[in-house]
Every structure is written in C-alpha cells, then in structure tokens.
C-alpha cells in the first residue's frame, strides 16, 4: 500500500474521542450509574486495533489526561491505566484482529477490567473511593457492547477511508 494519508483521518479520530468523552459525561438514570460503558477505553482499543501505526501510547496518555480532568481524579491516574492497556493491546493487535467479534469482546472485557482495576487501586491509594466491587461492571457492559461498537466505528473508518 502506498502511503496515502487522508488529511481528514486525524479529525475523524479526534471526533470519535470527543464523542466518547461526551458519552462518558452524559447523565444516566441512577440504576445505570454503575454500568456506564467505558467509552473512552473502547474507542482507544478500537483505534489501536485498526491503526496500530498511528494510534499508540502517546494518544492513550493525552486521552487519559483529558479523562482525568473530566472525572476530577488526580491527574495521571487514567492516563497511566489507559497507557497500560494501550501497551497490552499493541502487543497483541495482530492476534486480536483474527478473532471473531464476540471473542474480541471477551478480550475487551479483560483489557477494560485491567483498566478499571488499575484505576480503582490507584484511586484507593490516593484515598478517593469506596469499597465496592461494582466498579468492575463497566468492563462487562463494554464487552457486551463491543461487537456493535466495532461495527459502527469500522463503518465510520471505511466511510472516511482512514488508513
């Protein structure tokens, strides 16, 4: 493939992250509060899977910082946990892309589970969180949503021909 960088590609990636931030902040009914999917981590994993040469740990760090600002947590906590899963995804993106979508979902469960666990542990070390295992629920919800999420974002990617 010739290096055919579409100038709009960067903007589309940015827009997808922007959407994920908005979804992260969207008010939900109280029962859904604990089950909010980790949109930002999902978007990050998607872009690393399909464009590993363009989106990597640097992106994960910047995105994590913005997420910290949104959540009001100590700067760098989300950044660290997102960089960790970005690294893990980067190590195995070739293998993950071979799997059918539902199996990818299982891996997403593990990845986002790691993300949640790291974030929660660090939050606890800083003394900012309660004692409740419900914090792992978002990873399950994200995994269930993953196939549809992947199809939609991949459609967007093909629409704009981002390579």
């Amino acid at each position: 493939m010739a290096k055919q960088v579409v100038p709009g590609g960067r903007l589309v990636i940015l827009a997808s992250f922007l959407c994920s931030f908005i979804l992260t902040q969207l008010p939900l009914p109280r029962v859904m509060d604990w089950a909010r999917p980790e949109w930002v981590a999902m978007t990050l994993i998607f872009w690393i899977l399909v464009l590993p040469h363009r989106v990597g740990m640097g992106t994960a760090f910047v995105v994590g910082l913005v997420l910290d600002l949104v959540r009001g947590s100590v700067l760098g906590l989300s950044a660290l946990s997102l960089v960790t899963i970005a690294y893990a995804t980067h190590l195995s993106y070739r293998r993950i892309m071979m799997y059918p979508l539902w199996q990818q979902g299982v891996l997403v469960l593990v990845l986002i589970g790691i993300n949640q666990l790291l974030f929660h542990w660090m939050q606890m070390a800083v003394g900012m969180t309660g004692n409740n295992l419900l914090f792992l629920l978002p990873s399950l919800v994200s995994a269930i949503l993953w196939p549809w999420f992947f199809i939609v974002l991949n459609g967007v990617r093909q629409l704009f021909r981002i390579q």
Partner: protein, 275 residues
C-alpha cells in the same frame, strides 16, 4: 511523576484550573440536550397549564411573603436581644445563583459541576445550597465552572447541631445518595427520629442555621459504644438544577495560620493595658 505533582504540589491546582477550562465546552455540549429540551417544553407548553402554574406560584408567593413579614419582626427582635447580651451580630450572607451543568461520571464520587467559576468570584470551600438545604461545598474552581462535593460523598464531613436542643456533632457522608451518618453520639444523648439537623457554623466554612438533614433512624445497641444515627439529606441532591452559592462574610473566614481580624486587636488591647 505527574501523579505525584498533582498530589503534593500546590501550584498544580492552578494548572489544573487552567486545563479544566479546555473541557468547559465539552461540559457545555453535554448539557446542551437537556437545556434545549427545557426550552422546547417552555415554548410548547399549554396555556391552561401556564395559567394554573402562575396562580399556584402567586399563592405560594403570598404565603412566603407572610412568613417574611414575621421573619423581619423576629430578626429585629433578635438583634435587640443580642445587643442586650452584648453579643456579636449575626452577619447576613450574599448568595449567587448557579445552574448545574454536569455530574461526575465516577459513581464513587458524589460531585456535580456548576456553571460558575473563578470569573464569578467562586472560591474553594464555598457552601452550596438548594431550595431544601445544604447541598455541599466547592472543591475545585476553574475559570468558568466549579466542582461541588455533595454532603453524601464518602469523604465529606459537616459540623451540625440538632435544631431542637443544639446537640452538636459531625455529619458524615457514606458514598450513598440519601444516606448520612451522625458520628459519635453517646447512648444517653437526646436525639430522636425526625429531628432536623442544621449547620452549626463551626469550622467556619458553612454559615450557621441552614437545614442539612433529617434523622431517619436511631439505633441504640447496648453492645456498641455509640448510637447509630442515620439521616436523610433535606436537599434534593439528585434533582435540583438551580442552586445557590453562599458567600460567607469576610470576618468569619478562618484559615489555619492566618490570624483572624479579632486577634491583633486583642493583642493591642492587652498591650495598652500593660502600658
């Protein structure tokens, strides 16, 4: 390194405030749908409904005005009595209206985001009220927005007293909406279900006399050293959209290390007596 800096370096607060300005449009965008929906429903509302609401509001105003009349007389009486006792006058506080524009997505943290910031004179530690009572306090100020920690947050404690008899205690958040715990109440203390808890004004952060919570259950277990007292906040923490930021009078701000305006005077007085 960044984590450490944010935790231990005081300057990071300003940096953070500036960085937060960058996500202000994001928060505004998130809030947009509900605001548009509100405006649309304002536009297409039924005329009959408006008339009825108008009438209801008018009668409510009448009732409130009657109460205010009484309050004016009571305030005057209170001031006279305080003068008789040579007591210090109670200072009235200024308020600023604010609107809620966001909620912290992290369910472990009970925080909301308001549309007022340092630009409007909001400062850290400022009390926030809604129509029902105390809602929380400002913990982070950015230029145009601020973050408010609600009284139910697991890290929040608030000095209160029982309105009926002035029994003082600390009200702790539990990290659960609609549940607060009154700490360290001895078994013989006079506290009952239904008691109103008001801010005691100790600690100098909150003005005295605003309702905070109503005692919902008192469990006296002989095996426990203290009574377990649970309370329910009077403010509608998850429903209120229009809030009040209270500005504490300057003379009451107490900061560790900074002498209060009274202290130097006292020292002078002592010196003059010595001389």
């Amino acid at each position: 390194m960044l984590i450490g800096a944010d935790l231990y370096w005081a300057k990071m607060r300003d940096t953070r405030a500036w960085l937060s300005v960058a996500i202000t449009p994001l928060q505004w965008l998130v809030d947009l749908p509900s605001r548009v929906a509100g405006e649309v429903s304002d536009q297409v509302v039924d005329r009959q409904l408006l008339l009825r609401e108008n009438e209801q509001l008018r009668s409510e105003t009448l009732v409130l005005e009657r109460r205010v009349q009484q309050v004016a007389a009571l305030t005057a009486e209170n001031i006279r009595l305080r003068e008789l006792l040579n007591g210090r006058q109670r200072l009235s506080e200024d308020v600023m209206l604010a609107e809620l524009i966001g909620v912290n997505p992290d369910p472990f943290q009970h925080q909301v985001i308001l549309n007022r910031g340092a630009d409007d004179g909001v400062y850290e530690g400022q009390p926030v009220l809604d129509a029902g009572g105390v809602m929380g306090q400002v913990v982070e100020v950015s230029l145009y927005t601020c973050r408010v920690m609600m009284v139910t947050d697991a890290r929040h404690g608030l000095p209160v007293e029982v309105n009926r008899n002035g029994l003082r205690s600390i009200l702790l958040g539990q990290g659960e909406l609609g549940e607060l715990v009154v700490d360290h109440i001895s078994a013989t203390a006079d506290i009952r279900e239904g008691d109103l808890l008001i801010t005691s004004g100790m600690g100098g952060r909150f003005p005295r006399g605003y309702p905070v919570a109503r005692v919902s259950s008192v469990i006296r277990d002989p095996g426990q050293p203290f009574v377990i007292v649970r309370a329910r906040p009077t403010a509608r923490l998850d429903k209120s959209r229009h809030l009040l930021l209270v500005e504490m009078p300057d003379t009451l701000t107490l900061e560790p290390g900074v002498p209060t305006p009274d202290e130097p005077k006292k020292v002078q007085a002592v010196e003059s007596v010595d001389g």
